[in-house]
Amino acid sequence: MSKVNAKIPEGPISKKWTNHKNNIRLVSPANKRLIDVIVVGTGLAGGSAAATLAELGYNVKAFCFQDSPRRAHSIAAQGGINAAKNYQGDGDSIHRLFYDTVKGGDYRSREANVYRLAEVSSNIIDQCVAQGVPFARDYGGLLDNRSFGGVLVSRTFYAKGQTGQQLLLGAYSAMNRQIARGKIQMFNRHEMMDLVKVDGKARGIITRNLINGEIERHSAHAVVIASGGYGNLFYLSTNAMGSNVSASWKIHKKGAYFANPCFTQIHPTCIPVSGDHQSKLTLMSESLRNDGRIWVPKSKSDSVAIREGRLKPVDLTEDKRDYYLERRYPAFGNLVPRDVASRAAKERCDSGFGINKTGEAVFLDFASAIIRYGKEKAHLKGLDEDDLSLVKDLGKEVIKSKYGNLFQMYEKIVDQNPYETPMMIYPAVHYTMGGVWVDYNLMTTIPGCFAIGEANFSDHGANRLGASALMQGLADGYFVLPYTIGDYLADDIRTGSISTDCKEFEEAEKAVKNKIELLINNNGDKSVDYFHKKLGKIIWNKCGMSRNEKELKEAIKEIQLLRKDFYKNVSIPGSKDSFNEPLAKAVRVSDFLELGELFAKDALERSESCGGHFREESQTKEGEALRDDKNFTFVSAWENKGEPSEAVLHKEDLIYENIELKTRSYK
């Protein structure tokens, strides 16, 4: 076991980024024209990076598996984006955003990175507004904010429940301008199949054209991985169907360390599973917890009556309801961080208080918010505040203007009207804090290979706060990578274009072709989804919201067996040289089958509880997560040695100089 060096600049934390920018090397505009950069993924991180690098003058080649960069899954982010603007005058500052993020991450993130993130957060909002992103505004024409979990200020900027869409379309528009200028060459419907290293440096990728199956070579002076997270390891998650770990996993197998794979975010407010046919889960934004109150009945018999349809939730009087988050965490109430809210929901349901057919759901209730807003509106308009039906109607209008699209989405899926009856929600896999290990410059352990956005690990520790994913994606892509990549590329101004006509590209291409042959010619009788579902079940049941040594060990064995079974029995229809979704999916699932084992191994190794990683062996008397700072204040960075079971652990010690390590309390 060795230590890894994050290359954090010297100096006080508030000066690190400025000093670093002043001291790193630059590439002149004339030389940037001679340098190619590959960006894999076109979500918030990849899209913003591709656009900015092209504006700077680099020749960018961008790749996405979707039919257009605009469809990357950042588009589905709902609630908002944080920034330390302090427009509300409620005491927000860079330091507070920094502090909240480190605390929210349960003290398992890297201080210097998080501070930089908080520092550039304001610039992101300025940049997006200048691009024409239509954030919500108040009647004075200024930007509006709302509050998200784990914080006591309102710093979240939003565009109804479609903030991710608007931000992504902003980045997409910036890309379009560069595509028109010829500075970005866009490859839609292309999947990265492998990384190519020449003399130890990342020099290109092998791709598969998803329309005709052609295997292609692409070279560059640096490769940026912005392919998102790996929540689809669980099969059911809020990720898009195509979201996958393959790009990250391929670079891991070529030498990039993979950090904290077991740090997964289970989001507390998703629409519950309705049956075996389910293909994905739908999130109901955390912003709803601004106004929604979470509860289950106080008595089990009432829960059973609701489950069996004998009792309507609206008929249960206040004194018979248990607003368990408000009860357990009076200071933060319904706005505790996601990991805390998810575990609390699981605890109630495991104790028999769940309220839907499967017993795995709790209520998210807007009735009191509707009355509160309705009264405000009535007062403002000089109408009768005691007229309940008028107040309700006015209140519903306000709720609609804030969350209209979410309510509509809920109604379409569940077939119930959430304005009239409380929503049913349950936790679901949403985000992965773990990812490719990167240093302060966002470079992986492979020279010239960078990882940004959800694909890397650095900023969220063991739990991400709401509205911070969009912030991090855009911070990395617009404001961090474009500087730090120059420091690396300064060595490449005399290199000239990289040829794909060398043995390294040839070998990588051959390996990809062999793998595809192996899969397509396999004479099995089980579909790819069969294996994916099975893997998801193992991970959810044994490495999900709570974990223990025995089950983690079982999970590792089961995944190893499943992987063997996959290569023996998977069957893929169609041919390799046509549009073939099952084939594309088979490649992705084969990578998940390896990641899953490392995931369980990492969870086993970390015998403390922290953030979203809850080890049953390590909890307080009240059932809260119990950290072990003495033994686990480090990042687990895994080095590939062939099989996941042989992966070697390296540690990056986390040093807290500006924030005192404390027990996280939201009481």
Binding site: T52, D67, A136, Q166, A240, T282, S578
Partner: protein
Amino acid sequence: MKLKLKIWRQKNSNDKGKIVSYDIENISPDMSFLEMMDVLNEQLTSKGIDPVAFDHDCREGICGSCSMFINGEAHGPDRLVTTCQLHMRKFKDGDTIHIEPFRANSFPVIKDLVVDRSSFDRIQHAGGYISINTSGNTQDANAIPIEKNSADKAFDAATCIGCGACVATCKNSSAMLFVSAKVSQFSLLPQGKVEANDRVLNMVKQMDEEGFGNCTNTGACEVECPKGISLENIARMNRDFLKAKISS
């Protein structure tokens, strides 16, 4: 539920293509339309038949990938939803369902129900942006207050997901609703006004070059748009276009 599906099958862009019938059973009303397609594909695969290709990704109505023409309507019989959010409870036991791709000359079929909508991207390349570089010293986001009404309208226009339902629905295969949504978003905001003239001229020019048809104001696009993009945007774009033509 038991259903008969009549689905457009086409091997690739050169193949002529035809409608093929499939019977399917045990469909739950709680399934989404695409989950029903998943069940069909599992069955086809187990029989050694090539599964039906269709575009899909987020399955929550926002990425704009899914694109099926169901019983003669883009995204099927429900309003304000994409195919992925259409649920089987909208159909009855024993129904026959016709499923075709989004058809337009500018959306060539790639395979089965998958079409090539890159013409939409090329229209955006022609001007769907505000020319501003990334920099850490743009003016403060609150420096220019924007009237709430305009900001809200710009937002409503910006919610277009680029699925192409408007084109598939229009008898002329016109892309006016799609293009006008982007043009409107920017022309309603002060940041976008500087380039408004060039933007509308360039985007309309590209739209015509891609072979999309003309708008005859039937309004079918607005009805079928899963995001409820308003016809008002087309009127606004026509006005912007005329203004730009005269002043150029």
